[in-house]
Structures are given as C-alpha cells and as structure tokens.
Symmetry: C2
Subunit: 376 residues, 2 copies
C-alpha cells in the first residue's frame, strides 16, 4: 500500500501518533478506563465547540446532520436551507425524509448568504429553522458570518442549524458566544482523526425546543446521549472505541500542542497560498473573495485540462491525492483539502502541482512558500 499524502475534502492523512493510537488494546465501554477516555474527550470537544452539550455519535457527518435535523426540526415544520452545493442538497433531502417542509434559497454564484439576504428570505418564507452548510465541501464556499446569521434567525424566531463538518477546526467556532443553536461535525476533516465519529453540539434554545420535538429515531436521540454522559460518561450504544483513541490523540495535538488558533492559522495560510497561486498565475478559483474556505480550495481548471488528468498528475508526480470536482463544478474543477497532517514539503508540492497546471511564472512557488511560512 502506497502512502499517498491526502489533500482531499476528507478523509485526511493522520499524524503518526494518531494512526498508531488506534491499535491500543480494546476496552470495555462500560468500564472505568472507558469513562476516563470519555471524560477527557468530552472536555476537549466542549472546548472545541464552545458548548456544554456535545454528543459523540458513531456515524459519518451525514449521520450527525440527520441527528441534528431529527432532534431540532418537527415534522411539518418549515426549514429554510441555504443552497450552496451537494451538502446543502443532502441536508434538504434528510429534512424531507424526516417530514419537514423544505425551502431552498440560493445565494449569488460563488458566494454564501449575507445576513440581510437571510433576513429577507426568512420574512418571506416564515420558516422556523434555518439550515446552513458552514463550509460547502463541494464548492469551497464558506460562511464566516455564522454569528450574524444566528442573530437574524433569532430576530425571526427561527433556530440556526449549522453543518460544520469541514468547518470545525479550520475556522473559529463557538456555539455559545456566537449563539449558534446546533452544530454538526465529524472526525475525519479538520480534526485530523479517522472517519467514523461525528458530533452534534447544541445550545440552550435548541435544548428547550428539543423537549417538544417528537422523537424520530432511537439512534439519533440526543437527549439520551446527554443523559448517558451526565450520569456516567458513557454512550447509549457501543461506541467506536479505537476511533475515540485516535480522536483523543488528535485533539491533544490540536488543543495542547499547536493550540486551536494556531491550528486554524495553519489551514488558512495553506489555503491562501493555494488560492494566491491560482490567481497570480492567471487562473480562477470558484468562491468569490470573502467566501473562501480555509480548509478546501476549489480551482477552476484551465480550458482543456480535465479533473481526472489533474488528479493523476498530482498523484503520480507529486504524491498527493486531491479531490475531483463536485456538484455543478464536477467537470471543471478539482478540490484541494488543506486538512490533516502534513510537513512543509507537502505545501511546496501542492503549490508546485498547481504551478504546473496553471503555467505559473518562475519563482512564484518559492515566493508563496515564504509568505506561507511567515503566517504560521
């Protein structure tokens, strides 16, 4: 098996200590060793989400979004979803299957929604909940204005539900101080853990609402997760213990070794370097300035270059695995993740790969490497 550096929209390459931690001996999830692990992990997740209430689910990010919608949106209730790509479409599908009435609002090309636009849309639609994909993994469009969106939602008596799967760890987030109502995320993106764990964090308003929302699932019942944690630091069903070892280790690195702000800066500096390279070499990236993600860069490929060709070049010449295009950009773009574990050479290789594709002027890669290093 070749060890390719993953620069995907997720999963990501893991720190060697995170990889190895998965091989620790299996333990009883109803025993004292597990409770100690759960206690540690919970406290790190609470810090990361800025929330008291965080449920750890054995699931993918899609599962966490389903859990969020199931607990905070009643059947028949109207949910307004900001349509930015594949993952907002998925949230819409989840909500429909769970019996909500879904209305979509589409922002301008390559942009997210502004607070004013959301206010208009809510006044028109009378929806009582808003769903937003904070960082659209399919298009690279990010919402940095979550706090304002929450304010507008509350002014319109609506809850703000946030899919932060590829946002958390790559952008500042704090459920309580930003007054977000509920946030879903997952392990395999900017938290640098293997896939298989997912989370929902929620605040006071959402907790109040949940009491009156009819249960739609036992597996996604967040009240039972909260009860199990509070009573004994356990999970209602058997959790993925080896993935928890890995997450505990990766959060140690993120929170204690690098620091959350340093971790976010690391993503931002890498993403900026990649975006800069494309533009300074005369190319175009999909998201407009101000709406660009720290964790996913989406370059529109030059005429005549297919995503499959670009990806093959990345793998074969530069040893990096980048993602293909998605949603309506499927045939014209690639997606480069800036998440996970990498050493400096990986940044150099990713820049060199793009320099080759966009025929960048000589010296640009070196110049951007200097800028990158200065920002860390």
């Amino acid at each position: 098996m070749r060890r390719l550096q993953l620069l995907l929209p997720g999963p990501v390459s893991l720190h060697p200590e995170v990889e190895l931690s998965q091989a620790l001996p299996m333990i009883n999830h109803r025993g004292p060793e597990f409770r100690e692990l759960m206690r540690e992990l919970t406290s790190k997740l609470q810090k990361l989400f800025g929330a008291e209430r965080v449920a750890l689910l054995t699931a993918s990010g899609t599962g966490a979004v389903e859990a969020m919608v199931a607990n905070f949106v009643e059947r028949g209730e109207k949910l307004l979803i900001i349509q930015t790509g594949t993952f907002s479409d998925r949230m819409a599908k989840i909500a429909e299957v769970l019996g909500a009435e879904v209305e979509l609002v589409e922002p301008a090309e390559g942009e997210g929604i502004t607070a004013e636009e959301l206010d208009d849309a809510l006044k028109r639609s009378k929806a009582s909940a808003v769903g937003v994909v904070a960082n659209e993994t399919s298009t690279g469009v990010v919402h940095k204005n979550l706090q304002e969106l929450a304010r507008v939602a509350h002014e319109n008596d609506a809850l703000l539900l946030v899919d932060a799967v590829s946002y958390l760890g790559g952008h500042p987030l704090d459920v309580e101080s930003m007054e977000l109502d509920a946030v879903a995320s997952a392990s395999q993106k900017a938290l640098m853990a293997p896939p298989g764990l997912a989370f929902v964090a929620w605040g006071e308003r959402a907790a109040e609402k949940m009491k009156n929302v009819k249960k739609k699932s036992v597996y996604w019942d967040l009240e039972s997760y909260e009860k199990f944690y509070l009573e004994k630091y356990e999970t209602p069903a058997t959790p993925a213990v080896s993935l928890m070892y890995a997450l505990n280790k990766s959060l140690d690195i993120i929170i204690n070794e690098v620091g959350i702000n340093g971790w976010i800066r690391r993503h931002a500096a890498f993403a900026e370097a990649l975006n800069e390279l494309v533009e300074r070499a005369g190319g175009r990236v999909y998201p407009k300035r101000g709406w660009r993600s720290n964790t996913i860069v989406v370059p529109i490929l030059p005429e005549g270059v297919k995503p499959s060709e670009a990806r093959a070049l990345a793998r074969e010449r530069w040893g990096i695995d980048v993602g293909g295009g998605a949603w309506k950009l499927k045939e014209v773009s690639i997606r480069i993740g800036t998440m996970g574990w990498y050493e400096e050479d990986v940044v150099y290789r990713a820049l060199s790969f793009l320099a080759e594709i966009y025929k960048a002027p000589k010296g640009l890669v070196e110049e951007l490497m200097e800028e990158y290093k200065s920002k860390l």
Copy 2:
C-alpha cells in the same frame, strides 16, 4: 494501560494483526484502493451472511437494528417482538419511535420461542412482521430455530427480522438457505473486529417489500447502500476506513485461516466448558438446555456473591474482564463472552475463575480443559 483479556458480551479482544491493521495509512473513500477494500470485504460479508445484499454501516448494532426496522416495517404496521431481554426491548423502542405498532410475546423463563408458539402468537396478533433477537446478549438465550421461525412467519404472511448482533460468527447463519428476511449484525462481537461497523443483510422478500416502505431516514436508506455498491463499490457517506481494515483482517482469519465452522466450534466449545463447570459444581446458568448461546454464558451467582465482587475477582486475580448482569438478572448474574481473540490459557483462567466462585471439586477445570480441546 493494562492489557486485560475481554470476555465481555462485547467488545472483544482483537487478534494482534487486527489491532495493528487499524494503523494503515488513510485512503480516499472515493478512490481505487478503497474500492478494492470494499470489494474484498463485501465478498467476505456475503459469504458470512449467505446473502447477496449486505449493507455496511458506520454505526453500532443498535444502528443496524434501527436501519432494519426503518426499511422493512411501515409506519402503522404491526411488529410482533419476541421479548427475551434488553435487546428485544430496545428493538421494540426503536420500532415504536419509527411509528410501528409493537406487540410483545414473552417465552417461558430462560427459553426462546418455539415455532408452534410463534404460529399461535401470529395467528392471534395478525402482525405482518416478527422481530427476534437471535442471541440475547442480556440473558444468553439463543434461538437456534431461526429457520423454523422464518417458515412459520412466512406461512402467516409475515417477514422475520433478526437481530444477530452477537449471533453471527458464533452460530450457523445463512440468510438465503434459512430464508431469513433481514438480519442485523455488528463488528465487535463474534467477528472479532473493533466496534463501529454494523451490517444489514436481506433477502428477496424483504427487497420486494422495501420498495413500498416509505423512507424514514437518509442515513439508514438501504436502497442507497445497495445502489452505491452495485454501481461502484462505494458507500453513500464517508465510511470508517480504519475499522474496515480491521474487519477485513479479522474476516480473513475467520474465513480463510480458521474456517467459519471451526470458528463457530471454537465458541461452542468454550461456552460448553463454562456452562458445564457451573452445573457440575452445583450452580445454575440462566438459559435452559437447548436455549444456550455459544457466545455468551450467563451463570446465576451463588447466594451472597455480588456481580461486582465476581467481576473484581475476575479482573484482579485472573486478568479477565467479564460483564455484569443485565435486564432482570442485573443483581444475580454475570455474563461471560466467549468471543474475540484468546489463547488457550484464557479458557483455563475463565474456568478457574468460575471454579473459585462455585467451589468446584478439584480437577474439574483440568477435565473440562481436556474436553474443550477435544472439540476444537
């Protein structure tokens, strides 16, 4: 971290190669390496379940049961559940939350249901689906008559839905030849993999029915799993790749190194030795003869011995972690799993532990060890 031998109702201790396989490099779940892994795993799971249709979910066993009920039981439909312990109660709760009408039928103490009893119950209740926990992890009651139960269910125009979480790998099972309609299972029991993966396998009748059952979930939508496999050996959402490495390795050991029948025999021989010890030392096990599991042994403790004391003795003197009692047996029993990876000394230690508790005659442990070895 102490390396305790887990003899729990699950999770289980892993073969060293299974443990280490989890540390393999992360790969793209939309790339060729993943498809190869998925192809291998699928073919092993198909062999193990005796079914063409097997969905691999990132979830616990509870998730798989929820997926099974969500896809094969319509809202408002009546589901008859054989009540044998905690996990049949859980299935009932899941079905109720998903909108089914649930009726319980309770077999005699320490027994499962016979085909005749099921026939009576179905004629009375007119239920169109039956839910049975093949191996009740809480009480150690096993249904070895699944094939007959399926026949009776079909004669009464009902589907048979089987929770085989701690049954698969420990007892013979074959969805197609036994004409079971749907079977749910999980990775962390007799398949000797870490927790976090779960499965639903289903046959032709269930596939036909599923077409007309209204979707209740996107995450549990088995039709979408089937579509993704058939089209490209991928999963709809991001799967737990490192757990799949482990399961692929453990199934290699079970299917190719030991052989499925040998694997089942291994559980049976260990369980028989433990049950024998208790009875020959004058104690009692909960399940009646004919209803005893190969994977979980449930001894009723001698008067005056508390489960917590027995468990502490097991850990401290014998280095084995056994489970506490559950359901109505919580205060009077322990549960000893015979699943996972162990060398012969573990069988000896488990027997010695029980010999101590039940004050067994001298030499009984050695005698039962000989019997055990002769059965492998």
